[in-house]
Symmetry: C2
Subunit: 137 residues, 2 copies
DNA sequence: TCCATTCACTTGCTTATTGCAAGTTGCGCA
DNA sequence: TGCGCAACTTGCAATAAGCAAGTGAATGGA
């Protein structure tokens, strides 16, 4: 008997082989795409995600980051040893979700005029200065 | 004290005014976009949605249809009296989610070659003016 | 040396949402 | 007098989310 797991490292086609269903099985919840958004905006570290406006709980963030890594949308790498500290970045597969976010933004802006994008964040320097720069998702 | 409800009939900006967050507050779960997909594919009735491949539970379907109606993405109308029977269709606002679905399909097909779209469903004969021809979401 | 702080998470517990099975209502039909 | 269909509703167990607090390694300061 065959197992129904592991297409590129994650469970595949849990509910059906419909591409929409498959997408939703990966990012169909209230938080995952917000983490992708943050990564696109330039955030990289745990505290960056924690401090976003939507106030994700830390256990949920940890869970989603693990799932995103397992699904190969996100990569985790140490930016220093002693103490080991990690940052996250999008893989190509994760980057390619940009059009999905763009479509959602477009829909929201059309139907909810009050919405507005957050600005991009400039990557950290050694001295930890986050300077904001224009440019949306 | 002001309430934080009702932009076009539904709770607005629950978590932040980010357009992505706003979109996810409306359709950010595992089922809502599948109902939209079914509607785009030509399904209209409760049993149509129930019989989709993903096997949505009937209570969740009822809940999502109510929320979609409240958010003005979907409209509910009787197609017969005695006994009253209802069918659902997309509003313009719901139709305009097409690009979101298209982006998800595109992403899934690129990264998960095994996925494939369901075909459109032919509308029922009793009550329909809008005849749709084949073509995916 | 001791203490406070930072960062990247875990853990424990409460509350909310899902999933599953079964039940309900109104009517038409044999 | 049932039987069945369509569109839901209800009850309850299982799963997930939300919240607060805690952990461990290291670093900087009094």
């Amino acid at each position: 008997m065959e197992d129904d797991k592991t297409v590129e490292g994650n469970r595949a086609f849990e509910r059906s082989c419909c591409p929409i269903t498959n997408g939703l099985d990966i990012f169909g919840d209230k938080w995952t795409l917000l983490i992708i958004r943050d990564l696109i905006l330039g955030k990289r570290r745990y505290q960056d995600f924690i401090s976003s406006a939507e106030k994700i709980a830390s256990n949920i963030l940890a869970d989603r980051l693990k799932k995103l890594e397992a699904a190969a949308l996100v990569r985790r790498q140490a930016y220093q040893q002693k103490p080991a500290r990690y940052e996250y970045s999008l893989t190509e597969k994760g980057e390619s979700l940009r059009p999905v976010l763009a479509a959602i933004i477009s829909w929201s802006q059309e139907h909810y005029p009050g919405t507005q994008l957050f600005p991009s964040v400039r990557p950290r320097q050694a001295t930890d200065q986050t300077v904001k720069v224009a440019g949306g998702v």
